[in-house]
Amino acid sequence: MPKTIIDKIWDDHLVYSASGEPDLLFVDLHLIHEITTAQAFDGLRMNNRTVRHPELTLATVDHNVPTTPGRLVTDPIAKTQIETIGRNVRQFGIHFEDMFSQRQGIVHVIGPELGASQPGMVIVCGDSHTSTHGAVGALAFGIGTTEVEHVLATQTLPQKRPKTLKIEVNGELPLGTTPKDLILGIIRKIGVSGAVGHAIEYCGSTFRSLSMEGRMTVCNMSIEAGGRAGLVAPDDKTFAYLEGREYAPKGADWERALDYWRSLPSDPDAQFDRAVLMDAAEIEPFVTWGTNPGQSVPVTGRVPDPAEFDDEMVRGNAERSLKYQDLKPGTAIEDITLDKVFIGSCTNSRLEDLRLAASVVRGKKKHPHVTALVVPGSMKVKAAAEAEGLDKVFTEAGFEWREAGCSMCLGMNPDVLGPGERCASTSNRNFEGRQGPGGRTHLVSPAMAAAAAIAGHFVDVRTWS
């Protein structure tokens, strides 16, 4: 029977399967970080269990670490959490890229970057943006802390097989739009719960043309549509990206891996439970106006009037969103002024993102009322960007240039929005308070964020100069 890539990977990781029970899946790579692991390690100790495969586990710190030079942790609770993961990885013999490692970074940036995330793997992490690793053709999904403990103890996870959703997009992305706009456009179309219960395969000519980093941006936000996993079938681009990376297979292993990886793409007649078809021409530079990632309009648009929504629940949500965001219906997006601009996060902090933002910023100065922050996704990204002089482009324009981490994406380290502050952000969530209590987030692409930092308000990067 023809199979989807999702089912192929699933079936190749089945440890145990019985009707009426969830499938037991083997986990090839378990990524861990400081926020969702302390209680899991405690659970192991409490039950006299150990880490079954420390060599399949990779640890770093990213969420709560300061991104300022020197990385002085002043928050005692954060300090304890960082020390705790350090102690836990030492006790159980787990590889750890600590805060001062030159390979530290956001867990979803370093996995692919080190070649640890590979096609056909099952990858889990106690973080919902684990779907990012789907860009290399892996089945990757976020889990909670008890599930982290489960994987540490058994290297397996009982899971119900997800339904499959094919999202096919064809055509070239219009000039001035980016993979970020593509995924915002997809979420706009299918909604924030559009992919609940499903694993997504992104396919079509648009995805074939996307760079690996662009695919990561799209897969990253699968969860924002409710999909736990989203992947792109591996192709020559995937293989070229992986070849030579530290943990990528070498020599005869590489050839053997390639044979397997080439067998992974969905069979031509494979059946998906659902399918969505889009044309890349529908994609514009999108800006979110509300408090969930589905609430966006093109930059040339206006803040909608909640009265336009027929559904009572949607209308209520829109009203609440506008109240929180302090926006009036009918306001032109380009008239929204900003206090802060954040370029970073597991969505948009890779070298291509920084290059794109720098190309917009080069030779200009940020708006005097705006504080702008550029936070590379990993220390390797930082080093590569500095080798190209991108740091100078940003600092000369008045942007801050930081050490790697999650930074202002989630309001749990020193980089936060103050109450009422408005931010153009390349991150993934515009929930109430996400970037700090009372902070207001507008999700955009790196190019749109960079341009907004210069102009002080949103501008259409397609026509702005």
């Binding site: 969830p22 926020i35 909670g144 609940v196 409710g226 297979p249 397997y260 989630l410 309001g411």
Partner: protein, 206 residues
């Protein structure tokens, strides 16, 4: 985990779609390394004013909902971040069950790990319950997991669906790791085959 068999208790309404886990517990409060004590941070930004005093307008601060053990909410409850701190906070606050038209995948898995029941009822019915809760002070419901029923104070009985295996785990408070370890032979066998079939897979040294 704590078994769940029946729960009869006061119902609190949370009339909103797409309640995300950042709203349930903001990231600022995820830095603690303990597993308990998160109830004080539940819905923190909504529940408390900037000076830390309780916000009297927030639904759970209203006297009539004190001691509620069942929360009724809009669709896609628990979306966003995978933080298990969200179910921990709900459970620590005193909720034993949440009723909604739908739940986010990771949230619902996390709830199952700690015995916090998720009950899915049709959207129209949830809307009706939310109206009834609002209209009648002291509105209680009785959830019977064995029979998969929810009974409202008017005697109306709703049946709900739940995956049979998940139900079994809830009823008996089963530890998923313990269940998995019963398949030790299957795991061993898989490990041997895996290293033979895919010798290229990455390993990390300490």
């Amino acid at each position: 985990m704590k078994p769940f068999t029946k729960e009869e208790g006061l119902v609190a309404p949370y009339d909103k779609a797409n309640v995300d886990t950042d709203e349930i517990i903001p990231a600022e409060y995820l830095k603690r390394i303990e597993r308990t004590g998160f109830g004080q941070f539940l819905f923190y930004a909504k529940r408390f004013n900037k000076d830390g005093s309780p916000n009297p307008d927030f639904v759970l601060n209203q006297p009539r909902y004190q001691g509620a053990s069942i929360l009724v909410a809009g669709p896609n409850f628990g979306c966003g971040s995978s933080r298990e701190h969200a179910p921990w906070a709900l459970e620590d606050y005193g909720f034993r069950a949440i009723i909604a038209p739908s739940f986010a995948d990771i949230f619902t898995n996390n709830c199952a790990q700690i015995g916090l029941l998720n009950v899915v009822l049709p959207e129209d019915r949830v809307k009706q319950i939310l109206r009834d809760v609002e209209a009648r002070e002291g509105y209680t419901m009785a959830i019977d997991l064995e029979n998969q029923t929810v009974t409202d104070p008017f005697g109306h009985v709703d049946r709900f669906d739940i995956d049979p295996f998940r139900k079994h785990c809830y009823l008996n408070g089963l530890d998923a790791i313990g269940i998995t370890l019963q398949h030790e032979d299957a795991i061993r066998k898989f490990e041997v085959q895996r290293s033979r079939r895919m010798p290229w897979l990455p390993v990390f040294s300490r």
